[in-house]
Amino acid sequence: MPRIVGVDIPNDKAILISLTYIHGIGKFVAGKILKEIGIKPELHASKLTEDDVSKIAQIIDRDYAVEGQLRRQVSQDIARLKDIGCYRGLRHRKGLPVRGQKTQSNARTRKGKRKTVAGKKGVKEIRT
């Protein structure tokens, strides 16, 4: 099992897919990388030579923010929005959708599990 950029150990799938196990690399970027070094995307990751692996690692290192670095970047961006007190920052702070979606219904990804309010219209029995 090859090991690319730190902890990531993609398995015995096609490398196009294996590379997407790295946070920050999707199919599109994986395809671009493989095209640059000229590896067939269907080739299984186990068949990679040492040389291929180091080439891939090099390209990722050079062009892409990945894993911890990317996560840090994203959370910094959010922290910045919160810090300057703009609308998007406030939405992040409140844990509500940031991009203008409706919140009367749905928005469960941001709001988390339903909190039932007793006595509210439509609530017949208390769900747990």
Partner: protein, 92 residues
């Protein structure tokens, strides 16, 4: 979708004039404005704007990180006082 780069950022021309005039005179008074749609450009850093929210003017001191946002993003238009019957909201 973002705005075409060709056009450059949109700023109310009058507002730019006001900032330019202030910088020539070397003063930094709060500038009252209704132009929530104006982008904050680097020249605005360090100035205070009074941004209308439909009812009153919110004081917005422009810092460097705010460049690229619109003035309206810093002046909330809605008041949310909480739901009825909710005694204590658990903080995030």
């Amino acid at each position: 979708m973002g705005r075409s780069l060709k056009k450059g950022p949109f700023v109310e021309p009058k507002l730019v004039q006001k900032v330019v005039r202030q910088s020539q005179m070397g003063i930094k008074d709060p500038i009252k404005t209704w132009s929530r749609r104006s982008t904050i450009v680097p020249e605005f850093v360090g100035y205070t704007f009074m941004v209308h929210n439909g009812k009153m003017f919110h004081k917005v001191f422009v810092s460097e990180e705010m460049v690229g946002h619109k003035l309206g993003e810093f002046s909330m238009t809605r008041t949310f006082r909480g739901h009825s019957g909710v005694k204590k909201e658990v903080e995030e």
